[in-house]
């Protein structure tokens, strides 16, 4: 009976479409630096169990008003600014496995390690999607006013992207 159960579990895991992505931890440790001043409690406690590299823009690493929502395989951290909200999230899970699909999907994946900046013009939300060390990340700015340059031009979000540092995450 037990053997049958184990076999069933093994077979179901083989056919499972969702799962956890592998992280290249060797590359992460090179980037992770010890902070000269400890990070706020809200951040360290919030991501203490998170099992992926936790990236945030250096500019906001000491913001005590940040909101952290995290679990074992994802995190979302948001910062409220005047007339705008900044959010960064990381995710180590996948929901579909299209490894055996045709070249159309493979072509799409060639660009997967390249940062993509996309502006949702009608909703005034600017987003950068990127993949780092195997996990997928999203950096987003949501603006309240139509003329806010932070959501019209890519300079601000690109600058935040360049400032990303690893502040947590365990193997």
């Amino acid at each position: 009976m037990r053997l049958l159960l184990i076999t069933l579990l093994l077979v179901s895991s083989l056919y499972s479409k969702s799962g956890i992505l592998d992280i290249e931890w060797s590359k992460v440790t090179q980037k992770q630096q010890k902070p000269s001043i400890p990070y706020p409690n809200v951040l360290t406690k919030g991501v203490k169990d998170t099992r992926l590299p936790v990236y945030i823009p250096r500019l906001f690493a000491y913001d005590k008003n940040m909101v952290v929502v995290a679990d074992r395989y994802f995190y979302t951290i948001s910062f409220i600014l005047k007339d705008a909200t900044i959010m960064i999230s990381g995710d180590r899970t996948f929901q579909e496995d299209f490894s055996n699909q045709g070249s159309k999907f493979q072509k799409m994946m060639k660009a997967s390690n390249v940062v993509e900046f996309s502006i949702e013009e009608e909703a005034r939300i600017i987003t950068a999607n990127f993949n780092k060390q195997g996990a997928n990340y999203e950096l987003q700015i949501e603006c309240q006013t139509k003329s806010d340059k932070r959501c019209i031009k890519e300079d601000f979000i690109k600058n935040l992207y360049k400032q990303l540092i690893v502040v947590g995450g365990n193997k």
Binding site: S18, G19, L21, V67, V69, D71, Y73, F74, T76, S78, D83, T85, M87, S89, D91, T93, F94, Q95, E96, D97, F98, S99, Q101, F105, Q106, M108, M109, A111, S112, N113, E116, S118, I119, E120, E121, E122, A123, R124, I125, N129, N131, G134, N136, E138, E142, C143, Q144, T145, K146
Partner: protein, 241 residues
């Protein structure tokens, strides 16, 4: 005369074949409640290139994101009263009637890897039962956690790992907090025209983001939500959301 007959028959056969090719575009009907809809990827003419033929349900078993029926999936931009639509009121009856029209991949400038044009709308626009502002509730499509609340957007991360985004809810009507666990069907907020300090039409923009693995690589993308929503709506109409 012989040639004339042959050409006529050929012409007839060709025209029949052409009709057959377009047969898919005829709206699909569903028994009961008068619900009709165009298949996934059949966008309003001249509003962009949809993912025709992709009938895969990316988010199976989700609840419909509005609390109750009827609701209408159709274009805001290309619908009556929209920026590129027919002249008229946004509250025009035609905007609040079946059949549904997919508007995922509708013409936009932002990059969308899964859209045939490489750019397009990231989700679908849904109108509630009627044009009343701040009246109809949007609800959680899956059990999960609220990860983000902006000035006009709410993100729910479902137990499945998919992220569902609700845009344009009335910010004062939001009934959830960041980090709050929600159950399937729990009220999130009311459908509105909120877009920060300026307004849009009264509707819910709903999108689904998930990570797709391709061998060694993976990518988070906005996936087509239309088929999942048709499936969810049928269950809502049956009284088993």
């Amino acid at each position: 005369m012989k040639y004339f007959l042959t050409i006529s028959i050929l012409f007839l056969l060709l025209s029949c074949a052409k009709k057959d090719k377009n047969r898919d575009a005829v709206e699909e009907t569903w028994k009961g409640r008068g619900f009709t809809y165009y298949p996934a990827g059949y966008l309003k003419p001249h509003s962009g290139r949809g993912r025709r033929g992709d009938r895969y349900i990316y988010a199976p078993h989700i609840r419909f994101p509005l609390a109750y029926a009827p609701a209408y999936i159709n274009s805001q931009v290309y619908g009556v009263g929209g920026l590129y639509g027919q002249r008229g009121s946004l509250c025009d009856k035609r905007n609040y009637s079946y059949p549904w029209r997919d508007n995922y991949c509708e013409t936009r400038t932002h990059k969308m890897p899964l859209c045939p044009a490489g750019v397009g709308h990231q989700g679908v626009d849904i109108r509630a039962k009627d044009c009343r502002d701040n009246t109809h509730y949007a609800v959680a499509v899956e059990e999960g956690v609220i990860t983000y609340i902006g000035s006009y957007s709410v993100k729910l991360r479902g137990k499945s790992g998919r992220t569902y985004r609700y845009l344009h809810l009335n910010s004062k009507s939001i009934q959830v907090k960041r980090g709050q666990r929600v159950w399937r069907g729990q009220k999130i907020g009311r459908v509105s025209n909120n877009m920060g300090k300026t307004k849009t039409s009264i509707h819910l923009h709903f999108d689904i983001k998930e990570t797709i693995r391709f061998g060694r690589y993976s990518k988070s993308v906005y996936v087509p939500p239309y088929t999942s929503l048709v499936d969810a709506y049928k269950r809502l109409l049956r009284g088993r959301p």
